[in-house]
Symmetry: C2
Subunit: 251 residues, 2 copies
DNA sequence: CGACAGGTTGAGCGTCTTCAACGACCGTGG
DNA sequence: CCACGGTCGTTGAAGACGCTCAACCTGTCG
């Protein structure tokens, strides 16, 4: 089975949320924690490769990622696929579907994932009762927007090599901030097909471009993923710098 | 001078806001109107070509567009420019800068524009006092996100002709909903350089691509802009449909 | 009048695509 | 047990799509 719902007896309590302890995320007040605990209605557990949300669906839920890597994408009728962004622990998925009519994109798991499930119908009460959390939600949306802006710049105006370097540096940064990567764990779980569909290139040319980065010692391609060996060099090739935000909100 | 601030004696009152009467925008409650009237701190009036906001700035303001066309963009160090999206009446600009540290993109006017100015420092009180407006803000952010998703799909996976057709159909739709276009006014005020920088193409190739659309009778290129003659045909070429939302929020 | 922005067109070239074939690996089933 | 198909990665060859360079035209503005 591609996914299952954990019983509430086994699921993680918000007060013991493994993400909350990470210094990167902002702290909740007691009241906020109570509200969120109550807002949470379940936990979704998926295999790698599972589809979490599909375009066009009118899902009753939205989620925050607790564990694992995933990605958002759209496809054209003839099968051409574009990966829009990646999701890591702390990210919300399904907000678009919750606020607007229906999902305009799909979400798929790259690794096994754990997601915290909320009920869409109760979203408005979050706005009414906790301005701070509502503000955080807007913060998250604004950050997603600025990431998409950078991706657009990348696909539209960077060369294939620059694009690839940017993407890998970007994924490293996101993974690092989410606690998925550090000095010992530098493995990003994407296939070359994922990279190609993110960069707007063919798989063949992506392969040749990645090889150039490998030859320069910036990455090492493994099975279904790669180690990021030299982020700084990648940033230099891409002419990109991650912006350093101290703390981020998290719902 | 590129821009000036109107004195409060001459500026539009929120209760008489020219946008509010359009059926496309949702109605405010009396309380909300009072709050917004108070939230508004001035009006910005720009010439065509004026820079409204610049990347890296720490602007104290955010704006809603009242009149005119504009666009958001980013540039790389060597001058390569990518247009991210267009802004029309009803759109917010500067929210990113208000929520996060600083602006990650610039905004420029395509035509003379009128913008309604708000103070960034008072944004949080909007969240505290008017959940409905806060929700609207998130709605706007989510919609911007879904537009950027579609643009990414377009630049990444559509051919030059499809991309051009998509962009023009998209601009027509946005202009129409904002009341800038109708059956008699079908003129979109962008140069071919703007189109090129939106599509991620060179100006030369953009010119040749637009000519193909002209030859097929879908558009007619004029001076610094074009008439959209057959939106349906453009949508067909692009394999794209605008999603029909009845009403949208507006702050 | 000259300078400049915007648009148009042709020629040549390079990046990236498609097609094709092949090797490695893995799980499944005969 | 091995054969088989499927996914993933790799490489070469040919050709298309889009880029750069270059020239020229138009209209506008100081």
């Amino acid at each position: 089975m591609a996914s299952d719902f954990r019983q509430s007896s086994t699921r993680v309590r918000c007060s013991e949320c493994p993400l909350r302890v990470k210094s990167h995320f902002r702290a909740f007040s007691g009241e906020e924690l109570d509200f969120v605990s109550n807002f949470k209605r379940g936990e979704l557990n998926t295999d790698a490769g599972a589809t979490v949300l599909v375009e066009g669906a009118n899902s009753a839920h939205l989620y925050t990622v607790l564990e694992g890597w995933g990605f958002r994408y759209k496809i054209l009728e003839d099968g051409r696929r574009q990966i829009l962004n990646y999701v890591v622990p702390g990210d919300m998925v399904g907000l678009q579907g919750a606020v607007m009519a229906e999902m305009q994109h799909s979400v798929e798991a790259l690794t096994p994932m754990v997601l915290c499930m909320f009920e869409r119908s109760r979203l408005f009460s979050l706005f009414e009762r906790h301005a701070g959390l509502a503000y955080d939600l807007t913060w998250l949306a604004a950050r997603e927007e600025s990431i998409l802006d950078e991706h657009l710049l990348s696909i539209g105006r960077r060369t294939a090599l620059e694009r690839a370097a940017y993407l890998l540096a970007f994924l490293h940064e996101r993974g690092r901030l989410a606690g998925l990567l550090d000095d010992d764990r530098r493995y990003v779980p994407v296939t070359q097909a994922h990279v190609a569909d993110t960069l707007g290139l063919s798989v063949v040319h992506t392969n040749k471009t990645l090889k150039r980065l490998s030859d320069r010692g910036m990455i090492r391609w493994l099975d279904r993923g790669c180690d990021i060996l030299d982020v700084r060099a990648l940033c230099e090739v891409a002419n990109w710098q991650p912006d350093e935000t101290r703390q981020r909100p998290f719902i």
